[in-house]
């Protein structure tokens, strides 16, 4: 009864399959958990023309690498992936199956689990062993509360892992045999028709290059209040950014959005103003060297990742902070 990591690829710039970076976090987690359970880890990748990617996986400490290949898996569809993975699971019979908690996994994992009468533990942030059983930790209420979750019933047990929860650089090198697995899928099984991937427009603002970022969230209340944040950004010489709701409302352009659906940034200084710190935002900025949070709620999850925080009314704090920075700059 092994631990199986399902890794993720999608077409890269050259049209060939390329890794989703989160895959190697899942691989490292599978190795770690397999070690703790005194069993073996294996890994699988689903798609077409996977020889290159499977070859890369073969350089890791794994019992087996499965290249799940079929012409009907060239483009991702939930129907195709679930059909293929069900057949792989019947063959491998793993105890635990791990996935990166990516947008693609969110699209098909609940379907896969449901088809087997199971529920996946989605978006887990860590795990521990208790009496030989895995306990996963996940977040409730947008990160304000944690919960310990155990599996019940028969294997396989499914879990998806939050971006950044496990470290890709901990993946242990080794050598593994590659096996091509060809599932039986027919075109009639696939009910959705995926079209090309596209981007809306070239990005005008590259936040990833910014040394300092001042980012604004819901706490700003109204579009008319944005200038007080702009003033702070200007005093610091920082780029202005925002959490998703601000861009959704059209108060700042989409190209200034930080988070899982926007840009991932790691500046020297990140100042989060009125941002509560939903996980979708945190994954986009938690690599910042120094994080400052200004928020009225002392329990806001943003303080989990902040080095410095001011608990207070941003409408009173920001003018004072802008003035204090102008004095020393």
């Amino acid at each position: 009864m092994s631990v199986l990591a399902i890794l993720e690829q999608r077409p890269g710039q050259d049209g060939k399959p390329a890794w989703n970076r989160m895959s190697f976090e899942t691989l490292a987690a599978a190795q770690q958990i397999a070690g703790e359970l005194a069993t073996q880890a294996s890994a699988a990748v689903v798609g077409r023309d996977l020889a290159g990617l499977a070859g890369e996986l073969a350089g890791n400490q794994l019992a087996a690498v499965y290249a799940v290949e079929h012409e009907l898996l060239r483009s991702y569809t939930p129907d195709g992936y679930v059909a293929a993975l069900r057949q792989l699971l019947e063959k491998v019979k793993p105890l635990v199956v791990l996935f990166p908690h990516s947008y693609q996994v969110r699209d098909f994992l609940p379907k896969l689990a449901t088809s087997l009468g199971k529920v996946a533990v989605s978006d887990a942030i860590s795990h521990r062993l208790e009496g030989g059983q895995i306990v996963f930790v996940r977040q409730l209420f947008q990160g304000k509360v944690n919960v310990d979750v155990r599996f019940a019933g028969d294997a396989p047990h499914f879990a998806s892992l939050q971006a950044g929860a496990y470290r890709a650089d901990r993946a242990a090198p080794g050598s593994a045999p590659v096996e091509t697995f060809t599932p039986e899928i027919s075109a009639g099984d696939i009910r959705t028709r995926p079209l090309e991937l596209f981007r809306e427009s070239e990005r005008g603002v590259d936040l990833t290059a910014a040394e300092m970022i001042v980012s604004v969230g819901r706490g700003i209340k109204e579009a008319e209040n944005i200038p007080i944040v702009e003033k702070l950004a200007k005093a610091l010489g920082a780029e202005l950014a925002a959490s998703r709701p601000i861009c959704d409302a059209g108060w700042l352009p989409m190209e200034r959005q930080v988070g899982s659906s926007g840009q991932t940034v790691a500046p020297k200084l990140y100042v989060a103003v009125g941002i509560s710190g939903a996980i979708q935002h945190l994954v986009g900025m938690k690599g910042s060297r120094t994080v400052v949070a200004i928020n009225k709620d002392p329990n806001a999850p943003i303080f989990e990742v902040a080095d410095y925080g001011i608990v207070g009314d941003l409408f009173q704090v920001l003018p004072e902070l802008t003035a204090a920075i102008q004095k020393v700059k």
Binding site: S102, Q104, R106, D107, F108, P110, K111, A113, T114, G117, V119, A120, D123, Q139, L140, F141, K144, V145, N146, V147, D148, V149, R150, F151, A152, H157, R191, T192, R193, P194, L195, E196, F198, R199, R218, L236, R244, A249, S260, S261, Q263, T264, K268, T290, A293, D297, N299, F303, E304, D307, Y308, G309, I310, D313, L321, A323, A324, I325, V328, K329
Partner: protein, 256 residues
């Protein structure tokens, strides 16, 4: 187009949460509740599709008696009628609650089922996709746009890092809607008045003949997260706090 939109009532976003005595759930006593935000966008999308293509919007919600407030608001915004499954979902895993919803949806045979991409309370992000599997429907998640076309619909899915994808599928189908897909409407006075006369069908799990799933995951206990990073907090008057922060940024973090 007949559309069922599944909506959930959750604690208001800025709620101060306390862990309940049982350590299984939060203290619900003095919380205020609102519609789960992505579900509000799913409702909005349903209403806009009806305005374009005609048909009917049925709001479906499972929850205790207090969920009737959220249902009334959906009716006031323009849903034609509603179904309230009066059951407490807090102890249920997402498969069990989806089974209740699926049983109610099956009776309606809609062309389209919409729901938000995830809930702000449990945050599994699974209910929509589980429903699709239980109902045998094709689906797409994290949808930003829905267009009717010959033979079905064409939707725009959001992917990571600013990428998108169009996906086509036949009807009936299920979509999970991303927040921000359009601007939310407010209920009008006329809408609020009309809502009082609209039908709300109240059902229980027993009425629906929904079987409880044998649990495959168990919530052991909930707790406040431990801080992994030690945050230096400045809680004084704004001017004083600002000065302390600038001092730290200059001489400790050395970023100014």
């Amino acid at each position: 187009m007949k559309i069922v939109v599944a909506i959930k009532q959750v604690p208001a976003r800025d709620s101060q949460l306390r862990i309940g005595a049982s350590k299984k759930w939060i203290e619900e006593a003095d919380l205020t509740y609102e519609i789960n935000e992505p579900d509000a966008y799913a409702l909005e999308e349903a209403l806009q599709l009806k305005e374009k293509h005609g048909g009917e919007v049925v709001a479906l919600s499972a929850g205790t008696a207090r969920a009737s407030q959220t249902i009334r608001e959906a009716l006031a915004k323009g849903a034609d009628r509603a179904i309230h499954i009066e059951e407490d979902l807090t102890a249920m895993d997402p498969l069990s609650s989806a089974r209740l919803l699926a049983a109610a949806i099956r009776r309606e045979s809609p062309d389209l089922v919409l729901t938000g991409l995830q809930s702000d309370d449990l945050g599994y992000g699974q209910t929509g996709v589980i429903l699709a599997e239980l109902l045998g429907l094709p689906h797409a998640t994290i949808v930003m746009q829905v267009e009717a076309q010959a033979g079905g619909i064409r939707v725009k899915r959001e992917l990571e890092d600013g990428w998108f994808q169009h996906v086509e599928m036949p009807l009936p189908a299920l979509l999970t809607i991303q927040s921000g897909i359009s601007k939310l409407r407010y209920a009008t006075l006329m809408g609020i008045k009309k809502a009082k006369t609209k039908e709300v069908k109240r059902l229980t799990a027993a009425d629906l003949g929904a079987e409880a799933a044998s649990a495959s995951i168990v919530l052991d206990r909930i707790y406040s997260p431990e801080r992994t990073k030690r945050t230096q907090l400045f809680t004084g008057a704004p001017q004083e706090a600002a000065a302390q922060l600038v001092e730290k940024l200059r001489f400790e973090a050395r970023v100014l």
